[in-house]
């Protein structure tokens, strides 16, 4: 655990000694607020709720998660420091966990900086605090999942741009398959006489978008928590497999 902390500390400091973390935080706040105000009808609705705010989060994370995570291993491979890190007396999973937690912390700081939204709706009326909490948790888990996906991809390549593009694509697919127009399309069509409605349910089940919108509505299902946690765990496990097989 000590080693996880040491790696975590170094990684976090490096996020904040380069402009990267600040730039990302500012972009996230700007995007999430402007999308919510201009396209989410936050003002016209006039009700004290953050659902229009959270609605756009999965879309933003599609790029934001990969942007935070792309340097995790790519940068390490490019500079050759993997060779230093992995010949230290620590196990690879300690390094993976430390790095992931650092990116995770940047995400947490980012979300915390949108706390102004909560005070705004509190002053507008009497929102359901449980729903807000659930929305934040959902948003946080979607972000963490996209970071974990990027973490695995970044272990594959030394090129951060490649990592960004591949991760964005994966997140895009995982988001889109739960997007209502696509679910509706599946539900209304059939293939060789078989109704495809069941596919829509499967797609929703593995979609970042569906789980996060459900949580933004205040529906905190245990399945959703298990989904996010196992997705993150799987990606981190995949990272360790990739790191090991890359050296073989």
């Amino acid at each position: 655990m000590r080693n996880v902390w040491i790696v975590f500390k170094r990684e976090l400091i490096s996020y904040f000694t380069t402009p990267l973390a600040y730039v990302l935080i500012i972009i996230f706040c700007f995007l999430s607020l402007s999308l919510c105000l201009f396209f989410g009808g936050f003002i016209e609705r006039g009700d004290a709720s953050l659902s229009s705010f959270f609605y756009f989060h999965p879309w933003i994370y599609m790029i934001f998660g990969p942007a935070i995570g792309m340097r995790l291993w790519s940068e390490e491979h490019r500079m050759g420091t993997t060779e230093l890190l992995l010949t230290m007396p620590i196990s690879p999973w300690e390094a993976i966990l430390g790095k992931f937690l650092a990116a995770f912390t940047v995400l947490a700081v980012t979300l915390l900086s949108t706390i102004g939204m909560v005070f705004t709706v509190l002053s507008l009326g009497e929102p359901d605090v449980g729903v807000i909490f659930s929305g934040y948790l959902g948003s946080f888990l979607v972000g963490a999942s996209s970071i974990a996906i990027t973490c695995a991809v970044s272990a594959l390549t030394r090129n951060q741009i490649t990592c960004l593009l591949v991760s964005v694509t994966i997140c895009l697919v995982l988001t889109l398959i739960g997007f209502p127009p696509i679910s509706d399309l599946l539900r209304s069509s059939s293939f060789l006489g078989i109704k495809l409605g069941f596919l829509a349910d499967i797609c929703n089940g593995v979609s970042l978008f569906w789980h996060s919108t459900e949580m933004a509505r205040g529906l905190m299902r245990i399945q959703s928590l298990i989904y996010f946690i196992s997705l993150i765990g799987f990606c981190l496990f995949l990272t360790s497999v990739i790191i090991r097989s890359k050296r073989a």
Binding site: I6, S14, M79, L84, T87, M88, P89, S91
Partner: protein, 315 residues
């Protein structure tokens, strides 16, 4: 300290290291030589636990690198070939980070960092960001990282690469000094370096050991070792060459005959010392009124031997 047994590494169909075994004791400095692509770095990466071997094994201080990697790694200080560093950190911050990973904290960590900075002459740049350092300073920072925990085993991949002549000398002295109490393997392309600081040298080519011995041993294996160099005037070059070839102890003469002089090498017959041959040449010179401007025994040169052992198989 270091035991390497039948180590093999394949990259796809290519065999980079081929059934290589060696052992290094405490107090030994092993020079690792070989042409580009011979497999030196690959071997070192396997010894330090970065690359898993295709087959074979490594133990360091009794701990197996595959079974107890953290124990084995804790004994090793490693300077990788490219001297990789975290460019966004300061020298001090970076060394502090590696000291922590090596299990040090608080005042112990501070002492370790200070000692490494002093040993590698980094005082001037200790608060500088690493990406603003010159190449030599970066290399030394990475070397400082390797010795920060005063390890029993040092694996240094081209430790003097990119250093100025003064610093090369400093690092050689450092290696020689540390070699008294540690087991050290270092690779280099500078052959004088091997004579300057190794107690033993290994030459590998295409992943296999082609020579192993003290630098003196290896030098004697050069084909010219023990021959006599001659530069003489007084007769035409061709005549001198003929005279030399006719000597009782001479086996073979090779060299360039000019109109007025001869310069070349005379090999003694088997079981004849170079001294005997040289004495005979000296007598010949007296008898024929030759002027000898050079007459000495070839001590053997490491780079001759290196070339002879590793240039034959350019496949």
């Amino acid at each position: 300290m270091i035991e390497v047994k039948n180590l093999t590494k394949q990259f796809g169909p290519k065999v980079a290291v081929d059934n290589l075994s060696l052992s290094v004791r405490k107090g030994e400095v092993l020079g690792f030589l070989g042409p580009n692509g011979a497999g030196k770095s690959t071997t070192m990466r396997m010894i330090t636990g970065f690359l898993p071997p295709t087959s074979g094994g490594v133990t360091v201080g009794g701990d197996d690198m595959l079974e107890a990697p953290n124990l084995a790694k804790a004994r090793i200080g490693y300077l990788p070939e490219s001297a990789p560093l975290y460019l966004d950190m300061t020298v001090e911050g970076f060394l502090g980070f590696t000291a922590e990973l090596r299990g040090k904290s608080g005042s112990e960590k501070k002492a370790a960092v200070d000692r490494a900075i002093e040993t590698c002459f980094l005082q001037k740049v200790r608060r500088q960001a690493i990406d603003t350092l010159s190449k030599g300073y970066r290399h030394r920072t990475c070397l400082a990282q390797a010795i920060i925990h005063d390890p029993e085993v040092l694996i240094l991949d081209e430790p003097t690469d990119g250093l100025d002549p003064n610093q090369k000398d400093v690092v050689r002295n450092l290696i020689r000094e540390m070699g008294k109490t540690k087991a050290i393997i270092f690779s280099t392309h500078i052959l004088e370096e091997v004579e300057a600081c190794c107690s033993r040298a290994i030459i590998i080519d295409q992943g296999r050991i082609v020579a192993d011995g003290t630098p003196q041993d290896l030098r004697r294996r050069a084909s010219r070792a023990g021959a006599v160099h001659v530069v003489a005037t007084g007769l035409s070059g061709g005549a001198i060459e003929k005279e030399l070839g006719g000597l009782r102890h001479a086996a073979r003469v090779e060299g360039s005959a000019l109109a007025e002089s001869f310069s070349g090498i005379v090999w003694p017959k088997p079981n004849t010392g170079a001294g005997v041959l040289a004495a005979e040449i000296y007598q010949l010179a007296g008898a024929k009124n030759l002027v000898l401007s050079e007459l000495h025994e070839d001590q053997g040169r490491l780079d001759d031997m290196f070339r002879e052992l590793t240039s034959g198989n350019k496949s």
